[in-house]
């Protein structure tokens, strides 16, 4: 392959595209929207269909793209789409169908400010939509929140692995900061796309027409009109979600050992909060950082434990307060949990976070 794994300077969006090619992605379907258009642009530039055979298609809409994911994932292929908030809103029906039919696939959301068409500037206001399952029915999507360009690259393969392990859609919930910024990145090692034989062996459920002489046809659907069967199906899904909650929680901590207060933040807000933490420490305030990497499953046990060690938590999000409710559920009233956020595409700066920490917790 022409791509090398040397240190490169890439935008988060470019890293996603390059990592997809390198981790054996079979197909990308997407529709351009700021601030994630570089994903499709980079794929078009690199023409992976000429090297790995990966399909890249500009769909006629986000609704079409997510249903192409349903088809591709249903035949056992590693397929993905990317969009930004309004586009991901359009995809919610398809994501619910994928969850219901247990189809793996990767959805990347490089969030921008809403509601509606909103703004093209960064935001984290799709947290609720991502972590609650934004469509109808009782379901969850595995949600990874990268905080660096390196994680944008690394999480593509991880998301595919999780999606196929649990036959469930996985999402990378990023934002306009991580998507647009450039940092040094080492791309993951290249691996080939899976062969038809490998897919047949690993995905015996796939409706791909292979092995029909030796098995019954696979039927993939979310529809079941017999309620007693549908309840069993739901119970099966809930058991699967419990297993994911048991096994797949990921998080990072910084300087919590001696901390009197902790900031809880994900994605770009965690990066900015880390700077605020450094500034507060320089002023003698012992602050640490807890960064959920999986937003669903949420690190509730770890946060409950953290609440026994600190005097209070500040949840910093680029939204009006969404993850703060998950933190409060986890902490269960043990210590004060305050929220700080900016809205509409305004990204908080480290100064504001230090001020909020002092005003809402330390001097409250």
């Amino acid at each position: 392959m022409a791509e090398t794994s040397e240190v490169q300077l890439l935008k988060g969006n470019e890293a996603i595209a390059r990592a997809a090619i390198r981790c054996g992605c079979d197909g990308y379907f997407g529709y351009p929207i700021t601030p994630q258009s570089e994903v499709l642009e980079t794929l078009a530039l690199l023409k992976p269909w000429e090297t790995t055979g990966m399909v890249v298609l500009q769909a006629e809409s986000e609704v079409a793209a997510i249903n192409m994911l349903y088809g591709g994932g249903g035949s056992g292929k590693r397929v993905m789409t990317s969009s930004s908030s309004p586009g991901v809103a359009l995809m919610q029906e398809g994501i619910s169908y994928m969850a219901g039919a247990e189809i793996p696939g990767l959805i990347v959301n490089v969030q921008r400010g809403g509601p509606g068409l909103g703004t093209i500037q960064p935001s984290q206001s799709d947290y609720n939509q991502a972590t609650r399952g934004g469509g109808n029915g009782d379901y969850n999507v595995i949600v990874l929140a990268p905080a660096s360009v390196q994680e944008m690259a690394d999480f593509v393969d991880l998301a595919f692995e999780l999606a196929f392990r649990y036959r469930n859609p996985a999402m990378i919930l990023s934002d306009g900061v991580i998507g647009q910024m450039m940092e040094r990145v080492v791309l993951p090692p290249a691996k080939p796309r899976r062969t038809e034989e490998q897919i047949a062996a690993e995905c015996p459920w796939a409706a791909n027409g292979h092995g029909l002489r030796s098995r019954r046809p696979n039927v993939i659907t979310s529809l079941e009109l017999e309620s007693s069967v549908m309840e069993q199906k739901n119970l099966h899904l809930q058991a699967k979600y419990r297993e994911i909650r048991e096994r797949e929680v990921r998080y990072q901590t910084v300087d919590l050992d001696d901390a009197d207060y902790a900031i809880v933040a994900f994605g770009s807000a965690a990066r900015i909060s880390q700077k605020a933490m450094e500034m507060a420490r320089a002023d003698g305030l012992k602050v640490g950082l807890f960064r959920p990497i999986t937003l669903w499953p949420f690190p509730e046990r770890e946060l409950a434990e953290l609440a026994t060690k600190v005097k209070g938590l500040l949840v910093v999000e680029i939204n009006a307060g969404q993850m703060v409710y998950d933190v409060r559920l986890a902490v269960n009233g043990r210590v004060p949990v305050a929220h700080f956020g900016r809205l509409g595409g305004i990204v908080p700066d480290p100064d504001e976070i230090v001020e909020a920490l002092n005003a809402k917790l330390v001097n409250a």
Partner: protein, 180 residues
Amino acid sequence: MKEEIIISGFGGQGVLSMGKILAYAGLMENKEVTWMPAYGPEQRGGTANVTVIVSDAPISSPILSRYDTAILLNQPSLDKFEPKVKPGGTIIFDGFGISEPPTRTDVSCWRIDAMDAAAELKMMKCFNMFVLGALLRIHPIVSVDNVMQALRKTLPERHHDLLPLNEKAILKGMELVRQL
């Protein structure tokens, strides 16, 4: 070593690409770098700025409240970022169209008339390289050699005939910049 820089001006002045070349040169010196742009939907004429951090240690936030160095290429940028330079820091501004030059006395202020020089030498497309030259004269964060390497890597090959002109602009910028 850690240098926190804001470069701000009009869209079309080469603000983002100047930052990118600086970040790229930092990468070639094995430093940690972040490049964080902020701009509106328009390609030219709107406001554009980019935060570039070059550091020996891992970088936490790509977004800052205060800067070591501010490179300010129009009056609105000067108005916005002059108060956000750390005491002891550096302001470099282009004199073109500036009616109210910086007034702070706790930072070092440098002026370069890069817009005028670029127009006079018919090198308008290299405007940002004059300014980059000024920065490297005041703070040699990266070497000119590595900037040239970065240009070679980031410019499409069909534009490589412009490399000597860019180098000339960098050297000229180093000459032209004056402390207030």
